[in-house]
Amino acid sequence: MRDDTLSGGFANPSVDAAHAFRAALSALSRPGHMETLAGAHAPAPVSPAAAALLLTLCDAETPIYLAPSHDTPAIRDWIAFHTGAPITPPETAHFALGRWPDLPGLEDFPTGTADYPDRSTTIIVELDRLTAEGARLTGPGIETEAHLSLPAIAPFRANRALFPLGLDFYFTCGASLAGLPRSTNVEDA
């Protein structure tokens, strides 16, 4: 267990983190577009892409909520050693990590305030399958339309209705990463 929790960081932290940040930025600015993100390894069941996102985006000032699927001592230790981020309940989380069925209702997470819409949670959803097919996405960053295998439709439509407040999502599966910002319209394909 000790082995798992201390290893798995970026081999070349500044360069790898810059690449990962670029991938995270592209994923969110071009919803539905697939990025590849590797180089980090966290204890199972965290995917390499989610591990790289945590290493890149989280530090001691960004509390993380772990869904029951990901709330293990090994993952807590890994996050503590590599990022120093505190673990917190959904109401105060800046980031959340979990599988879709294990995440609490999206209304539990802060969606920002009118003055500070950025004070909302970014949710990293681990999926078993992530492909560019399924729900139809339109909106900023998409030329005509994009497709993404979302686990549901209705919660993301409700989230879009809150704009400019709302949650932002990353979907990860293995080393694949896709983003869904609050500004994207989601419809059935």
Binding site: R2, L6, S7, G9, N12, P13, F81, H82
Partner: protein, 151 residues
Amino acid sequence: MTAQDDQNEARKGWMSLLAKSPAQRLADLTGEITDWPGFEWLRPPEVGGVMVRGRTGGTGAPFNLGEMTVTRCALRLATGEVGHGYVQGRDKAHAERAALIDAMMQTERAEELRRAVLDPLETQLQAAKASRAARAAATKVDFFTMVRGED
């Protein structure tokens, strides 16, 4: 006190010693050791700042004294021991030496290292502390009131 606590106390002791050690002195002391074990980085050396906090009079409310530069790293020996190095300043080789010694102090070579590195370091730091305390003591003023014999 359990054995675990004892171990933690001992480790705290040598980590504190290594953190405060002058970089050049540690390099000189470890220069004589040639057979370093192989290791892999868990966290390559990185430079950062930490906020040093103090308490007024040692017991009062905490306040921020100031920031200091710290270099840290973590590594794992081929045999599995994990060493952490936190040292003052921005000398990455210094942090690496501190982490290596921390890891090797958990192996059977602990005695050898204690004699070769930690004991001399400790003696030197104690001497420096004592001489500074002596210099300060020389300037100490004792206030007392003479019996004024007014009555």
